[in-house]
Symmetry: D3
Subunit: 128 residues, 6 copies
């Protein structure tokens, strides 16, 4: 596969319903839960692109543009955005989807950096 095809193939989606076990006392998705879901999606995207052992080394600026109310649906989409020699970056966007109409809005954007490691946890090259 070309790099472009591998990026398409490794795009990773996750729909979640915003139920009470994910919310804060404002009845919106707790920011920490959002970050946890984003890191999981980013990790899966990075792993499905490289098929190597990947670990998070950093997240860049993450913007929480809109609060996400209880009783909505969120869609997370992870996509490889940059491929370096030993690291790669994954963009994750979260969208709010209303349950009872077709309104869909962007809510959160973040970018995560991963490095590939071998069994001794030493960094190795990203397979290109």
């Amino acid at each position: 596969m070309t790099i472009k095809e591998r990026i398409e193939e490794s795009e990773t989606r996750q729909f979640k319903a915003v139920f009470p076990n994910t919310t804060n006392h404002y009845d919106t998705l707790f920011g920490g839960t959002a970050l946890s879901l984003m890191d999981e999606v980013a990790f899966i995207t990075a792993t499905r692109f490289s098929r190597q052992r990947m670990v998070t080394v950093s997240s860049n600026k993450i913007d929480f543009t809109k609060p996400i109310p209880a009783g909505t649906i969120v869609e997370l989409i992870g996509r490889v955005s940059h491929i370096g020699t030993t690291s790669l970056k994954v963009e994750v966007n979260i969208y709010i989807e209303q349950m009872y109409n077709y309104q869909k809005e962007h809510a959160i954007f973040g970018e995560f950096t991963f490095v590939a490691i071998d069994k001794n946890k030493d960094p190795v090259k990203i397979t290109q």
Copy 2:
């Protein structure tokens, strides 16, 4: 949108990493966790198709074809499979994806039935 387009549009995917908080003492995904994820994906699919208040009324036979080992990725795909007057059915398939190669296998199949209800919890017609 035609019914066919609505079915395409409401297809719902969820990738998850099989971490220790989801496994049983055999180090495979706990069956109850799999059922919980399937019901969530089925509920989101039904809601995104109908844009109505949907409640689960039954699940048909669910086949656990393969155990899902810890340290793999699962993909759940929900898709509307039948539309009745006041109920609809959603098929959910779970696939196991290896992390470090391209192997992907079917693991679990299930079908869930939902009815649409109004604010008084009385059944209403599915919008067609």
Copy 3:
């Protein structure tokens, strides 16, 4: 013990309070949580009957007869319903119990099939 005594002995009960961490946005027990509890009770029942390594192979039709409101108590009861050569079936019923009066109603019924496996995960006979 006779088979009949083993069925009595392995009957498995689980009471749970329906707190916010188990509910959906309708303030009723999330269907996925109910399925997860049912599979756990069915697994324990099957294991306590056979004292062998058991894995879920399927669930038959599960009927969600009544929604289960937040602030109630549920009782799950698992009971072996059929014993085959290499598989057995467990029925699970969920009852809703009101907290502040003696009303108790049936809410969900399901049946789960298990097979016995050895250490190599090959099917073995159910001990009779």
Copy 4:
């Protein structure tokens, strides 16, 4: 019902499988998880006895006699042990049940005190 019958009727059982999401780094049931399950069972027992709004006011000495290994089953049994004017006590015992033989041992004992409250959270008499 007599008090004795109400005590029998309100006895509350909960079986749980000791899976990785409940254990500590010694691969035994985390003490905090055990306490949380005990308080839930005690609360349900107190509520099912009195059919009144009950709140925990204290737990007496709780003895952790035996560690509970991962891959076992636990049974919790709650039973009203003392009835006062505005409070009652519930004993909770936890037993470890091996999965693959009939060995069953006592592991933890505790006693919890509850008071009945009205809607304004003022203490009221236990219905006798």
Copy 5:
């Protein structure tokens, strides 16, 4: 370090926000969640004091003086209160802190006893 310094050094604090995934149907912190947090803080305190493998053997009387409302902050503080030959005791206090003013009140007090064990799970002396 002196014993007194080791007690100071091992004092262990944990702040938590009381979100819906920790509450009961009265919209207050579920008692079982409070006990679970207390045992975790007590375990960390005991381990940080002794730097040995510690296991909970009992909790003394725990007093739930005040219910803890949703939408508040709790602070848990663990502190070694007694050092025996093979066991030590840890006091844990929980305080409720209002979010939008400086009011802080004591809510729960408990004391936990730990013993030190070696790799074979046999009791050993507390390092003094």
Copy 6:
């Protein structure tokens, strides 16, 4: 209180034991769990400084310097690092503490930005 005193007073600590329900398949703390804990500590710090309704608007670059092994203790420390007109920044550091010796290392650094809102969710000034 002066600003400096308010910063001291609102410093917020959280100790956690790294148990299996928080780890990934490498047996290290899952990055998403770390981010969730960091956001909770940052939110509590911001709220305790301002005593106003605070919402996360962004996180700056977060560096995961060291993986955090299962069976260790982590300490999170949140501290207000910048106070603007309608927003403030909170730094969160995570340290790994070994259980059985006194080694303590820095593992993760992040900075979170919060804004104060009123009951209509409109931004308001930070109380100075």
